[in-house]
Each structure stands twice: as structure tokens, then as C-alpha cells.
Amino acid sequence: MGRPYGLLRAGYPYLKTLGMRRITNFPLDIAIGDEGRLYILCRNDGAALIRVWSIDDAERLTDDLVGIGSYGSGEGQYTWPVNIIRDADENLYVSDEALHRIVSFSREGEYIGSWGEAGEAEGQLNGPAGIAFDADENMLVVDSLNHRVQKFSREGEFIGGWGSFGDGPGEFDMPWGVTVDELGYVYVVDWRNDRVQKFDSDGEFVFEIGSSGDGPGELNRPAGVAVDRFGDIYVADTGNNRVQLFNEHGRYVQRFIGDSTLSRVARDYMLTNAYPNRLRDMADLEGEKRLRAPKNVRVDDDLMFVPDYRSYRVQVYKNEAIPLDEHQISEPLRAPTLATV
């Protein structure tokens, strides 16, 4: 399906919140499975987990929580996981910036394997962070401490790559997140340069988004990026505690600062916890709604998922944009106008 000629941005309201402390501790990333399955990657120093969850959240907190993998350095473990992605079969792949490898699991949690070798030569990794599949299911790996992007087969055979340290086009300073759109373009979050760079599938620079700051369109140590089916670009603007939305040309559109309510499971938990309920009753709750250090953003059809790192939850928004054809939106203007219709 091609991209629409234009969009009527009818709204992008907050939909729901998933998870809570104890279930989704420090969610760093999320992979969207089929039939409402979610794989929430949680990480803190000394603890990490892939929490298997559901778009419906849970009715109550139980002891039967399901996780995949565990903290450590052995088989089927990860120490400093950064990104989680899925393939067409819903197998899961996790980057580990401490162990310099990619580890994979089936959706049932069975360990499949891992690959990756520490170093700075071609095909070696130093602090792999963002990962994404291209249309051929080759994996792009942001090789963060080597300041480059490398492409591997799903099994870890080196294919190619680009980038070096710096702040010019095609250069990086500790890049983090990555995504590939349906046209094959690659978007890399250039963390320490406060920008997102867009490349074609061969690694040729196309454009960049952002500069340092906290104003509209400015970024403060961004970590994650996503592109939806309309070509809109979402950036997890971590240091500014928000997600920013840009159109396919990189023009700033709007921001999401968080609108969270209590998740279903959190409500159930709180109904049997009198003391924190009293404390909440005494507190200013405004800050509770807001995003805190989101480190990635994912889109799936009309839904945007924001792992809300310091708030132990995932905030979900629903895109209500309506595609427009040439009859429904005029041709682009070369300059702003004060004319009315």
C-alpha cells in the first residue's frame, strides 16, 4: 500500500496504560506480537526480563507472570538488553550492549541462539543498541560504541555497514535506536548528536531531524525512532520526557508528553492497598500522567506504544489520522499564508 497524498490529522488520543511496578519494571522497549501479544523488555542494572503481556493488560496481579530469558551472561540470558524486535514468525531478537551480541527466542520463550563478537573490526560489535529488520529480514544493528550501523543476516553473517564517529552527515556519536520504513529507508537515532538521520537502504544520507534543545522539533539525547504506515516519524525524545512526531519530510507536527491513567492491573492492585491510596489522595497527581525518560517508541497499525521507563508502564495512543487524496487536500504551499478560505 502506498503512502497517502495527505493526512487529516483528526487526533491522536491517549488510549490506555499497560503494566505497573513489579510486572513491567523499567520497560526499555516493546515488541508487538500477533493477536494482541506484547513482549516488554525490562532492564535495570542487575535485573532484566522480557515480560510477556497482552494489549488487554491483565485483570489482576498474579504469581503466574510469564517472562522470557533472564539476567545473566549464559545461554538465553542478557545483561544489558537494549532493543527487542520480532521477525515474521514472531521469533524475538534482543540486542545486548554488555555482552555485544544478539540473542533470540521463540515466542514461547525457547532459546534459539545468539551471535555477535566483541571488537571494532567489520562485523564485530561494541555496545550493540538499536536493531531492526529490513524487508529481506536482514538485521540492521546500531553498533553504538563503534559509531556505525552494520547489516547482518538473521543468523549473524556480516553483510555491510556505514558510519563513523563525528557529527557530519552519515557520522554518529553513540547512536542508539534504528528503524526501517516500508520503503526501505533507514532511520538512526544519533543519540549524542541530538538528531535522527535518514538513509536509503545503501546507507546514503537523505536528511536529518532535530537539533539540541527542548523546543518543538528539538531533541535532548533521543533514544528511539519509529515510522508508521503514513511515513510519519516518531522520536523518543528521552531527555525531554516526550515523544515527538514529524511528518515524512521531517517537519515537526506534535508532541506527546504523557496522559497516563492507571492500568487495569494497577487499579486492581490498588483496591487492596489502603496506605498508598491515602498517599495518592494527599498528593498532586499531575506529574503521574507524564512520560518519564521514554527510551523507545513503537507503532503498530493505528497504535503507538511508548515504554515509559521510569514509570514502570507502557502508554498507548491511537492514531485517528485519515488518509486524503488529491481532491481532499490542496497542493503544498511554498510559504505560509494568512489567507482564509
Binding site: 535495570n44 490498588m270 521510569r310
Partner: protein, 467 residues
């Protein structure tokens, strides 16, 4: 470079920081002692910590990550006295996570020490009195008009400024009345979605605006007026001077003994007190004066290392942490086993220091930690010592007599002064293997373990327990 210069620089960096690698000691010594002191007391002259890196790799909230991150700061900072002053004030204004479970407030308190620890003492006491962690720790949130809670007022005088015996019970009551209504906002609780910050708030409806008499002065005092009077007292200057001496210069008796046991160096205390009054309680000027003084320079190895100093010093010696790495939580766990869990002192009196750091259990922990850590020949710091012993720089020779082997290891691991018994033990070990030969690969295979073992013996010595 003279060995004495290096030894003095190492002393300065142990006390005003958390130890140093050999390269750092040489780099600083090249600059000159007075200039280094100026850098230490003017931290803005040196590059700040990379906060982005810390938040990228050590984000999150729990006691382990917070204390570990603080230790990481101590080890990698180029502004070591900022962290050392924060640790000093954490000792003096001891606030514990055992009661103050609200981590963000505990962390904010340490950040406040970083920010104001070098300023004037009055500002620091005002900020301390407005600090949510301290307010909760000593119940000032329960201190209201008509229902005073005297806990903070009492400790402010007894443990935070003047010391016991320098005020009356009425002074405590009136000081406490002056701090009524100084409280904090209720934070959103931890469950279900994480900690949120709390802030100081003054509630006029809970404040006692009535007349008060404090230390002989009368007026409608509020908390800041009380602090104004406190910081003018000679007892305050003497109390803080003795704390500074105990932390930075040489071990004193524990605080409760101070009213009955005079300072071991009255002249040093007098000099610090004089600087306090000459500068309006400017901690930067006071620290400069202490670090430049003869009594400080002559106080090498007159302090037992705190667990934090021991662990960070070993990690610096091993060159083990220069960038974030997983599992840093084990180091804060190690200090806990040695009797110092950061952010969680045992009481408001803080940790008992000096020889009270050492008992049979904690000594085992201290030695085991140091020996295990330095026992890894792959550690960069150990590799560097081997390189220097092997003749690559620093005048080393590829073949060392047992005597040179011993002396050079003591120099490179410190420089460390050891007593005759320790030196003889080290020499006996060195002689048991004959000449140390690092010249050829086949000899290195035998010699490197000998170097590692020698370093392990050094860090397990009695003398290494002292700063």
C-alpha cells in the same frame, strides 16, 4: 619526579578524593601541589562528570543503583573533592534510607551536598533544614504550631552544628518552634507507577510566629533566624572544625566523646576555626586552608579508610572502572559488608569511624575484597604496574632484585609506608622466588603471578587499611 612529591600527591588524592592511578598521581604531581589544591577546591576548573553517560547506562531507581552510581561518580570524576565533600556531609548530617524509603529525596539530599557543600555553612544549614529527606528523617513534618516535635531542633544543635553541652533544653524547644511549618509536599507513592519527587514547602498555618529566646537572643524567630544565630557561635566553628579534622586529617574519638576528650591537635582546630570566622564559614576557603596546611601534609596514614574509601581506592588501583559496566552493584554490596551502606547510616549520629571500622568480620571483608580484586592480572591497573616493573617507563628494570621488587611494588601501589614487620614479610616472599625477571615471555609467565601475589600481600597489609 621526587618520590616525596608523589607520596604527598597520593596522600592528597586519597583524602580529597578516592585514590588515584599511578598515571593520575604523576599527572597531578607534575602540576604542583598548590595548583592541584586550587583545582580541587575550584571544581569548575575541571571537566564535569558526563551525566548523559550515567543516565544512559545507570538509569532506574532503587537503592542499589543509586549507591552504585554514587560510587561510580567517586571513581571516575575529575572533581573528586565535590564527591568527597558530599560524603563528608553525608557522614555529618547522617540521613538513612532505613527510614527515608523515598529514594529520590535521598538522592536529592546528596545532590544538595554537591551543590552547597563548598558554599557557606549558613546556606548549607538552611538547605538542610529545607531538605525533605532530613525533614522526614527527624520528624519535622510533624512539627506544628502548638504540637512541636523537637527531634530536628535537638539534632540540629547536638549533631549538626554546636555539639552537646553548648545550649540548653529551652534553646532546643525554641529552635524547634522556629522550624514549625517547615515540611514537604506529599509525593505520589511508589506503587503502582514509580517514585515521584517531593519538595520543601512552608505552611504558615502550622508555623509558630510567637516570640522566642534562643542562646540569649530574643525575637519572633523563624528557622533562618535560628541558623543565623547558630553559625555565629564559636561552638559551631569548633564542632565543624573537629568534624573536618576527623574526616580529612586524622582519626578523632567518636563524636559523643568530644565534650570530654580534647582534640589531638588543638592548634589545627584553632586554625580551622579562625578561617571559619575570617571567611564567614566559607567551606571552600576552609578546605583550601586545611589541604595546604602542614598538619594535613604530615598526617599521612593517620586515618583508617572508611569502607567506601577502601573499595573505591582498590577499584582505582585496579584501573577497573573508567566507563559504565554491568554489575557495579556488587561494589556497594561490598561496602555494606564492611559496615558502610551508603545512604543508610546506622543512626543520626552517622557511622563511627577510625578504628571502629575494623572488627574481625569487617577486616576479613576488607582484605578479601582487595585481594580478590587485585588478584586479577588482567585488570588494567595491575597490567600497568607490571608494565612499569618491566622496564617500560618509570625507570623500571626487566630484572629486579627481591629488594627492588618489594620497594617498587610498594611505590607503585601507593606509595605506601609500611612498618618493619610488614616490609620483612614482603621481602621474605620476594626472596623466596629470587630475582624477578620480566624480560622474556617464558620468564614473565612465572613472574607475573609473583607480582600479583606481592600486590595482594600489600593490599592485605595492616598499613593498607590506612589512608
Amino acid at each position: 619526579m621526587a618520590k616525596s612529591d608523589l607520596a604527598l600527591m597520593a596522600h592528597l588524592l586519597r583524602r580529597a578524593g578516592f585514590g588515584a592511578t599511578r598515571d593520575e598521581i604523576e599527572e597531578y604531581a607534575e602540576k604542583g601541589y598548590e595548583d592541584v589544591v586550587e583545582d580541587l577546591v575550584n571544581p569548575e576548573r575541571c571537566p564535569p562528570l558526563d551525566e548523559d553517560i550515567i543516565s544512559r547506562y545507570y538509569d532506574g531507581e532503587n537503592h542499589v543503583i543509586w549507591t552504585s552510581t554514587w560510587m561510580y561518580r567517586m571513581i571516575v570524576t575529575r572533581r573528586p573533592l565535590v564527591e568527597k565533600m558530599a560524603l563528608f556531609w553525608h557522614h555529618v548530617f547522617a540521613t538513612g534510607a532505613g527510614k527515608v524509603e523515598h529514594g529520590p529525596s535521598m538522592i536529592n539530599q546528596i545532590q544538595m551536598f554537591r551543590k552547597h557543600g563548598f558554599g557557606d555553612f549558613r546556606t548549607l544549614l538552611v538547605e538542610l533544614s529545607r531538605d525533605p529527606a532530613m525533614i522526614f528523617w527527624l520528624d519535622n513534618n510533624e512539627n506544628r504550631l502548638g504540637e512541636p516535635n523537637e527531634n530536628y531542633g535537638r539534632e540540629l544543635l547536638e549533631l549538626f552544628s554546636m555539639g552537646a553541652g553548648n545550649y540548653s533544653e529551652d534553646d532546643i524547644k525554641n529552635a524547634s518552634r522556629a522550624f514549625t511549618g517547615w515540611t514537604f509536599t506529599q509525593p505520589i507513592p511508589l506503587y503502582p507507577q514509580g517514585h515521584h519527587p517531593s519538595e520543601f514547602v512552608f505552611k504558615p498555618q502550622e508555623h509558630d510566629y510567637g516570640p522566642k529566646t534562643f542562646l540569649g537572643e530574643s525575637g519572633n524567630f523563624d528557622g533562618e533566624d535560628i541558623i543565623d544565630i547558630i553559625v555565629r557561635q564559636e561552638a559551631t566553628a569548633r564542632f565543624i572544625a573537629r568534624h573536618l579534622y576527623n574526616f580529612y586529617v586524622a582519626d578523632e574519638p567518636q563524636v559523643p566523646a568530644w565534650p570530654i576528650e580534647p582534640p589531638q591537635d588543638q592548634e589545627a582546630i584553632d586554625a580551622i576555626v579562625q578561617t571559619y570566622f575570617d571567611t564567614g564559614g566559607d567551606m571552600r576557603a576552609i578546605m583550601r586552608m586545611i589541604l595546604l596546611s602542614d598538619f594535613f601534609k604530615e598526617a599521612r596514614f593517620k586515618k583508617v579508610k572508611s569502607p567506601t574509601e577502601l573499595v573505591t581506592g582498590v577499584l582505582k588501583l585496579g584501573g577497573s572502572i573508567t566507563a559504565p559496566q554491568p554489575g557495579i552493584g556488587r561494589y556497594q554490596a561490598a561496602t555494606g559488608l564492611m559496615g558502610q551502606q551508603l545512604l543508610n547510616p546506622p543512626t543520626v549520629e552517622g557511622w563511627h569511624t577510625g578504628r571502629e571500622w575494623i572488627d574481625g568480620g569487617t577486616l576479613n571483608e576488607r582484605i578479601n575484597f582487595a585481594v580478590e580484586h587485585i588478584g586479577d592480572a588482567e585488570k588494567p591497573g595491575v597490567q600497568e604496574i607490571i608494565r612499569r616493573l618491566g622496564g617500560n617507563g618509570d625507570g623500571g628494570s626487566a630484572r629486579l632484585s627481591p629488594e627492588d621488587f618489594t620497594e617498587r611494588c610498594l611505590t607503585l601501589a601507593g606509595p605506601l609506608d609500611v612498618g618493619e614487620q610488614t616490609r620483612q614479610t614482603l621481602l621474605d616472599y620476594a626472596r623466596s622466588g629470587g630475582t624477578l625477571d620480566l624480560s622474556a615471555p617464558e620468564e614473565r609467565g612465572k613472574s607475573v603471578p609473583r607480582v600479583v601475589h606481592m600486590l595482594q600481600m600489600i593490599v592485605s597489609s595492616k598499613e593498607y587499611q590506612f589512608a
